[in-house]
Amino acid sequence: MLEVFVFSTLNGLVTGLLLFMLASGLTLIFSMMGVLNFAHASFYMLGAYFAYSISLKLGFWAGLLIAPLLVGAFGALVERYALRRVHAHGHVAELVFTFGLAFLVEEAVQFFWGADTKNYQSPDLLNFPLFTLFGQEFSAYRGFMITISVGIFLALYYMLTRSRIGIIIQAAITHPHTVANLGHNVPLIFMAVFGVGTALAGVAGVIAGPVLTTFPGMAVVLGSIVFVIVVIGGLGSLGGAFVASLMIGLLQSYAIASNLGMPDLLNWLGLEFSRDHPLNDLWTLTLPQIAPVLPFLLLVLVLIFRPTGLAGKREE
């Protein structure tokens, strides 16, 4: 039991931190521009595919460096030439645009790379077990994923709270007009933030691609979960997003590890149903079976009872 617990915690951490890399960019973009970027996970997917193509020619490490830059540049272009244009028509139009972009990116990825899964491999350098616990290996690559995620979190935190740019960004979040009046180029800051946010998603894609499989559906699988995190954490709150990411990662991991389900509940209540009961599907439901959709349940509950999320102040 202990081994399951320990490994579930580790797995939850890896997933949670990965989710946070996506969520941090999304939150940053949201707090700056008020745009919930539906296509955020698409940039994550692009990161994986770019890195895959680069890794074929130049190896994994080159991909880790170049792919996020490409993704970030693409993100900045999208902001400059498309999002800014749609911005005039309001938030709904922006949300719809990013929705369309997500759709388009998925199709484009299939066009350029095909619909098959891609053989994107982790580097040989990290192909060894970091440690073995209770007979299960924890690969060095997963350790590397944790390191990168934590590193990015710290760098982001430092940048936002200590550096001059961070202070301008923080000010621009709360008082965009004042910042503009102070002579800062707010549109440029927006473009840069969008670029950085999408580049972060790109990094996540680069390091997640080899582990979580690089295929055209990878954005869809992750996309709405990241949305859920940002909303649960509280729109615009980086700390909230961090907590929510880990929470979702651990929740899913523990839910899968547990073998609890309705049968246990019914046993405990002393109830029994035959297999022909019309609600048999419900009585035999188990936690692992529904683990991947638990975040959506959480999302709906949070929005009903605390629409601002865990740490958020802004509602819209």
Binding site: E3, V4, F7, S8, N11, G12, V14, T15, Q110, F111, F112, G114, A115, D116, T117, K118, N119, Q121, P129, T132, F134, G135, Q136, E137, S139, Y141, V211, L212, T213, F215, P216, G217, M218, V221, L222, I225, Q252, S253, I256, A257, T286, P288, Q289, I290, A291, P292, V293
Partner: protein
Amino acid sequence: MKRLHRSITFSITLKSLLAGLVLSLFSSISAQEPVRIAFIDPLSGTFASIGTSGLKQLQYAADELFNSKGGILGGRMIEIVPLDNKQSPTDTQIQFRRAVSEGLRIIFQGNSSAVANTLNSTISRHNRRNPGQEILQINYSAVDPILTNEQCSFWHFRFDAHAVMKLNVLTDYIAMNPEIKKVYIIGQDYSFGQVVSDTSIELLREKRPDIEIVGNEFHPIGQVKDFTPYVTKIVSSDADAVITGNFGADMVSLARSIIDSGLDIPIYTFYAAYDGITATLGADGIDKIYLVHNDAGNPLPSEERLAYTKNFKRLNPNNDMTQFRITNALQMLVQAMEASQSTDPFDIALALEDMRFTNMSGEELWMRGEDHQIIQPLHISVHTDQNIVVDADNSGFGLYRDFSVLGDETVVDHSCRMRRPRR
């Protein structure tokens, strides 16, 4: 960039246009009118590569075996009409009606049991309501047992072994391995996953009562980001083997996670080869991935079969001959047409019933008349790079045959009570 069926279609459409023109001028040549066969499978979207690959194999079989040799029924060509259903039951309906609209009477379809099921019931309804314009369903790949059991239909013929038959062979194979004491079953939460789970448990209990089922897990289809938490459970259960019916990305991710965790146990699968999966698993999957299927992989059983496969590869360098049963199905279909000298679905169906056929690999096939289920030898192959003559995904890796059973041994009972139309 790699899917090419348009060119085929287009040239065919031109050809048929021309043929139509000629036809209207000289109606006496109507004997040379092509035999048109609809192919309804995903040709765009997520599952396009699988459907397109099937289309190429069918087209190749038609061209190579019949059209290049003067056609069938005294000189008529076979024309394959591809219709894209995006693997959606709704779009399948639309394409079915298009087929009806264009006077196509024979439909090849394989991907997704959900699609096959809805197509089956649609065709039953259609044939009941439109006597004289019946449609025939040639199912080359959907393995839901229900199609030749409770929902069996006179108008449906299956050319693949259904899930229970495959599991029967797979559990035989597992039962032969005395080292396996604990088995973990994991699968996608839908009908096929459930069949795999229920049937494996039942059959293993019968064949090896000492084997313990240490896990029986379902996960939502296509929703799991990371399989590591599931693998943690597999590890802690001390399983000696894993059985899974997963396909696509869920299959790759699961296998990857199992291998990454350092777990060195066999994984018994149905769909863990080709379409990028073999290449993605690569060296990690060697001697770990086992696959039950009806296609005699490496070494290829006959010279004729080898030449046939190599020629396909030459024409379609980016595709593999993944479903040899398509060739079986077309050959048997043509044999039925020749035998009945008719292209009418009713006549073809009667001729197909209880047909026995020796295929290119030298295997004996029998289309059981009671439920329209093909009975054929089944094989279990292992993922490896040793002795691979025909590889998968151009990766150097492929499937090597490890265990085979003859058709007779794969037979399982059926519960089909077929309603036969009278003429």
